[in-house]
């Protein structure tokens, strides 16, 4: 693996050091520093366009970055293909729009990565997939296609699919913001359970109730920088920065 032996005895899982990224001339991420321990739950919030998605997408290299470094479980994320393969096995992602594969059954969606990436026999992969479908409470949908499910069910499938690759970190990019209000809770309930089981989670969301319930830390981003970082209690009751205050008054105001 990486020669940067940052996997010392400490239980840090993710290091983001002085991360900078540009889209052309647009400086989208500015000197981001973030360190995540095993089992930690991080909530990221901030106004639209502040770079939240871009930042977490750098963590599994859906986006490249130009300066700084990201280490996941001691593996440096750079142009090295081997490292990339290793990191993608450790990091799973849940998207805003689910991104299930519409031409495959739910079960096939779930078993795809275990079978192709981890070379698991089909039978084992299906058993595992069913156990995760039970955890997200929709085992009876296994043989349907994504299009036949409601948005909330699809997002729970997407979470189960992410879990199927046995990740050490789960990234969530606004997992509930494409859902109808009555479906948000069923997805958040699943995520709360995951959090309680000790999964390392980095979640971009504006669900402040969820943040208060599970977060170890809340991070506020604006214009490509981390403006404030605090425990949920401090963050919501006693925000330090005025941009944070403004943001919170806007999203909690109505």
């Amino acid at each position: 693996m990486s020669s940067n032996g940052q996997t010392s005895a400490d239980d840090m899982l993710i290091h983001v050091n002085n991360l900078n990224k540009w889209y052309g001339d647009f400086h989208v991420l500015k000197d981001i520093n973030l360190h995540v321990k095993k089992g930690e739950k991080i909530i990221i919030c901030g106004p639209s366009g502040s770079g939240k998605s871009t930042m977490i997408r750098c963590m599994n290299r859906l986006e490249k970055y130009q300066a700084g470094e990201i280490l996941i479980d001691g593996i440096l994320l750079d142009d090295n293909v081997k490292n990339l393969e290793a990191v993608r096995k450790e990091v799973a992602m849940v998207f805003q729009h689910f991104n299930l594969f519409p031409h495959m059954t739910i079960l096939d969606n779930l078993t795809l990565a275990p079978r192709l990436v981890n070379k698991m026999p089909r039978k084992d992969a299906e058993d595992m997939a069913m156990s995760y479908l039970e955890r997200v409470k929709i085992p009876q949908q296994a043989n349907k296609f994504p299009g036949q499910l409601s948005g909330g069910q699809q997002q729970r499938v997407a979470i189960a699919r992410a879990l199927c690759s046995n990740p050490r970190v789960m990234l969530f990019d606004e997992p509930t913001s494409a859902l109808d209000p009555e479906m948000i809770k069923e997805v958040l309930d699943v995520m709360v359970e995951l959090a309680e089981e000790g999964t390392t989670m980095i979640c971009v969301t504006h669900e402040m109730g969820f943040a208060k319930q599970v977060a170890d830390r809340v991070i506020f981003m604006d214009e490509g920088s981390i403006i404030e970082e605090n425990t949920p209690h401090e963050f919501f009751d006693n925000p330090q920065n005025e941009r944070t205050q403004l943001f919170l008054s806007q999203i909690l105001g109505h």
Binding site: L62, R88, M93, N99, H103, L112, A113, Q148, R161
Partner: protein, 359 residues
């Protein structure tokens, strides 16, 4: 009793339909009557000429006597030549079997339940089998040089092999056009645009006249093969653009989800992108096949005798020269049967796939 399902008042029956659609007001009625008059007159003329006054026996003088009727006698006389060209007369069962086999294979390949991986070895084996059948020279079959091939088997072969072989090539070109490697991208774009920018006739001409100039002396490539390669290359450029449309229709989120779960590029293409893109491109691919099926008639200019060319040769016979209309109708009917069935297939498939995607 009020909970009976509400239906529109029933207005079935052909009389009602005609009232509603043909004779709903004065103007409509006048237009309908005029149209019906011409349709009937035309049909009566066709029946008179094509059936009642027609001569079916292969007898040229009887044909000449019946001046206001069709002479299907020329078809009875010439159909074997039109369909099989100069393939030796007592061996024509071979191209017939080859054709039936070929068409059966296509029909199977087009059915969704056959879209499995073993279709590829089946095609390879069939092509070899068909080659043996057509060329012969082994298994007790007499050898038939491919300069003697012609007619419908040739048309079918050029268009089907052209489309089938162009399919994978087109996929590669479409992927190459989207590649992140600039050299590959430039090559693919250049090839696609170059080939699409010239008419098929010049591609065929280049394949047959210019291509041999580039070969080392003494090496010759068969004329038929050159034409086939020309057609494959031509079709692949068109299919590449069709596939590009299909690839673009697959949302970015699908690639991202596949990448995030650690699939490689080729795995992503094979199990995530292509299955979705191919569904979209089957109907336009069939359309491309239809136009290729008709365009193969251009191989005449490089001296190959496809279905249209054999028909033209058939009517050079001085005895039958007067009856070219019947021959063209016959050939048109063959083209029509093939093209129309392909087109209906494409339509059906489109509806079926759309149904499948409705939730």
């Amino acid at each position: 009793m009020s909970n009976v399902a509400i239906k529109p008042p029933s207005q079935g029956g052909i009389v009602n339909w005609m009232k509603e659609n043909l004779f709903s007001n004065k103007l409509n009625t006048v237009i309908s009557i005029i149209c019906i008059y011409f349709i009937v007159k035309f049909l009566v003329g066709v029946v008179d000429w094509g059936i009642l006054n027609a001569v079916f026996a292969a007898d040229a003088s009887a044909c000449k006597a019946a001046s206001d009727g069709a002479c299907w006698g020329i078809i009875s006389e010439k159909y074997r030549f039109i369909i099989f060209g100069t393939y030796p007369a007592d061996e024509q069962l071979r191209p017939l079997i080859a054709m039936v086999w070929f068409v059966g294979l296509i029909v199977c390949s087009l059915h969704r339940s056959f879209w499995k991986l073993w279709l590829i070895p089946l095609w390879v084996a069939s092509l070899i089998g068909l080659g043996v059948l057509m060329w012969g020279g082994v298994l007790g079959l007499s050898y038939v040089e491919n300069t003697q091939w012609g007619g419908l088997p040739l048309t079918l072969m050029l268009s089907v092999v052209g489309t089938v072989a162009a399919f994978p090539l087109g996929i590669l070109l479409a992927l190459g056009r989207r590649s992140e490697l600039p050299l590959i991208r430039v090559w693919c774009v250049a090839f696609i645009e170059l080939v699409r920018g010239v008419p098929l006739i010049s591609v065929l001409f280049m394949a047959s006249v210019m291509f041999p100039l580039f070969l080392p002396e003494g090496v010759t490539i068969d004329k038929l093969l050159r034409a086939q390669i020309g057609i494959i290359l031509f079709t692949s450029a068109y299919l590449a653009e069709v596939f590009r449309g299909g690839l673009q229709a697959v949302p970015k989120g699908q690639y991202e989800a596949a990448a995030a779960m650690g699939l490689t590029y080729w795995q992503t293409m094979r199990v995530v992108v292509m299955p979705q893109a191919l569904r979209i491109v089957i109907p336009p691919t069939v359309n491309s096949f239809i136009s290729m099926f008709k365009d193969t008639s251009l191989v005449l200019i490089i001296g190959l005798f496809d279905l249209l060319a054999t028909a033209k040769v058939a009517i050079t016979d001085p005895v039958w020269r007067a009856f070219y209309i019947e021959v063209y109708i016959f050939v048109a009917a063959i083209y029509f049967v093939f093209c129309y069935s392909m087109a209906s297939y494409a339509n059906n498939l489109e509806t079926e796939l759309r149904k499948g995607e409705q939730h």
